[in-house]
Symmetry: C2
Subunit: 370 residues, 2 copies
């Protein structure tokens, strides 16, 4: 990448907060001192200002359009990240219902959701992939969900382990499906009508840290009790159009720009999925075609489009890999301490050139060190 165009930017494989489209960053930069027509920076503008309300609605409509979300669903912009969702979901949708919340656990984020969920409600883990150190996702015949479960919760892509559901888990029609899509939101088209609630922190695939998008079937908004802390009740946010209190205005503004980039520059989620499949295939090919030098963590069927996780033959080679990759302007590749090895996060905004550069480096490194 040219230093003049990008001011010494490198290919950034960070797992989150993560790469954003350069064109979006440039727009933000251009508008930083003064949003056109506003007389001030977006950072300085009241969230009640019509200009900001239009920005918020544009961001919402961008997401609605990309995912083809019907009016049966609310789109909310929240704070507190997945961590607060871990509590809000059971507190709103299971607590005091007499029903059990069901969870499928395929990695660290699912486990965290379980730890918070069990404080709030009756509870059952219907599948836990711990025995395999979370290298796979279950097939429908491996778990059982009763018709009167409060909901089924799963994490569609486990960032740390690099495992992703190819399709949604199967649930009885009476059971709302709830997904933590923080790390694969907007990576491919999907059928929102299958979901009761899908949420995503923006900072992996959709924007900066500080905003969480929740797409929620409107009938479920009614389940939360008014005795909950007001911020935790989804209905408050829905009724106030995400302005029950001051929303994270800047993060929403950037999120809206990312949605527009996806629609206009990329061509929508089907086009984005095609690119994501190409990028991930480059890396999985490098894992598979180097005579076993690299060992992938996820089983083939559960390989993530977003986070490619693999190990090297020794800790020494791992350290050497990270060091030499850095010299090739390939950064933030070290895996999470709980899994080790390498994690290459290739979210939507990672250009194909970045995946090509890493694949090429992997092939070279294997030849020289294998």
């Amino acid at each position: 990448m040219s230093a003049t165009a990008t001011d010494q930017r490198v290919f950034n494989f960070s797992a989150g907060p993560a790469a954003l489209p350069l064109s979006v960053l440039k727009e933000v930069q251009d508008e930083m001192l003064c949003l056109p027509g506003a007389g001030c920076s977006l950072l300085e503008m009241s969230h009640r200002n019509k200009i900001f309300i239009d920005i918020l609605h544009d961001a919402e409509n961008g997401i609605r359009s990309l995912l083809n979300i019907s009016d049966d669903y609310a789109v909310l912009f929240l704070q507190g990240g997945a961590a607060l969702q871990f509590s809000m979901i059971p507190a709103n949708l299971a607590k005091d219902t007499g029903k059990k919340a069901n969870y499928i656990t395929t990695g660290t984020w699912g486990k965290k959701a379980v730890n918070e969920g069990k404080k709030e409600c009756d509870f059952e883990v219907v599948y836990d992939a711990a025995d395999s150190n979370y290298n796979h996702v279950p097939s429908a015949d491996q778990y059982n969900i009763s018709d009167d479960a409060a909901y089924l919760y799963y994490c569609s892509n486990e960032t740390i382990h690099g495992v992703q559901f190819a399709d949604e888990p199967t649930v009885p029609s009476s059971v709302p499906l709830i997904s933590d899509a923080s790390s694969d939101f907007l990576c491919r088209p999907l059928d929102i009508s299958k979901y009761g609630l899908m949420y995503a922190c923006a900072q992996k695939n959709a924007g900066p840290a500080g905003v969480t998008v929740a797409v929620m079937r409107k009938d479920l908004l009614e389940r939360g009790s008014a005795t909950l802390p007001g911020y935790m009740q989804y209905k408050n946010h829905a009724e106030a159009d995400s302005e029950w209190n001051t929303p994270p205005t800047f993060a929403i503004y950037v999120l809206g720009k990312v949605a527009r980039w996806l629609q206009q520059d990329i061509g929508g989620l089907a086009a984005m999925e095609k690119i994501n499949r190409e990028k991930s295939q480059l890396l999985y090919d490098a894992i598979d075609n180097n005579s076993g030098f690299y060992k992938g963590h996820a089983v083939t069927e559960a390989r993530s489009l977003m986070n490619v996780t693999f190990n090297l033959p020794s800790d020494e080679l791992l350290a050497k890999f990270v060091d030499e990759a850095g010299q090739h302007e390939l950064s933030a590749l070290k895996g999470h301490r709980s899994v080790g090895g390498i994690r290459a996060s290739i979210y939507n905004a990672m250009p194909t050139e970045g995946a090509q550069a890493l694949a090429s480096f992997m092939n070279d490194f294997a030849s020289k060190n294998g």
Copy 2:
């Protein structure tokens, strides 16, 4: 202000999110595509990256230095705004203690805190200024706080009504004092050792929307039960150095720059207070010295340094005032619907020239229309 330097920026009297120092916005703009030495934008960087952790610590140390905060206090960066604090405070510090939380209510924000607080704990409003439509703050002989209250909560500056406590309320030494300082944080020096907990959303006086600073006496961290939603337990955030989950990285980064501006460019909080007194006096003089044309909302002793609220003789003149002020590049002056009239918010980042321009406009407008 010159159009070339500031790209058609006007004097922005928004109550929040609100004006930021132009020099801070310029730094953010310069670094938007690539933080020096990072290879990527701050927006794209992992919160576990050492560069970001240093930024977080710089922001914390900037606040510690400005307010002379001792190691007996934790400084936390949280999400969810004041709204979530309204619930976190009683849930951590009063719930299940057998003690009553005490509240002084001098405006809208205090009332909101009461509405959430009473869901969580035993409860007493020891003073409510509602009868005066919140135009004053009580003196110490107007309320009574028992030695075994869980805490005393108050809002040091009520943005909507424009009333501010000149000094902290008086509490027994056994009772932690808790302040919502969202709209006057860092506006003047104060003695943190008087407080059990002071919190502030950044978006009025200290940064952009999306981060809330909590300065909390460390012994109080222990009061929150582990059965609370994890995000709501202060101790989790303190033990993880505000990285219990992904913090709002960009807002913290800007907050750190604002703290540095306060220390280095302004010269600290005593210097800031002097400027704030001068700015507010310009506007209060314009209210007082125009033969009763303007009617201030707050009684003189409780006038806010941050939000100057007043009314005009008629709704027609009010509309004309707002319209003509806009033509003079004085924006966001309309008061909150619950009080009406004008609200001129003159937080730290409003330059003295802005207050001078508004005072001059007020004098002219009164001459022509009085």
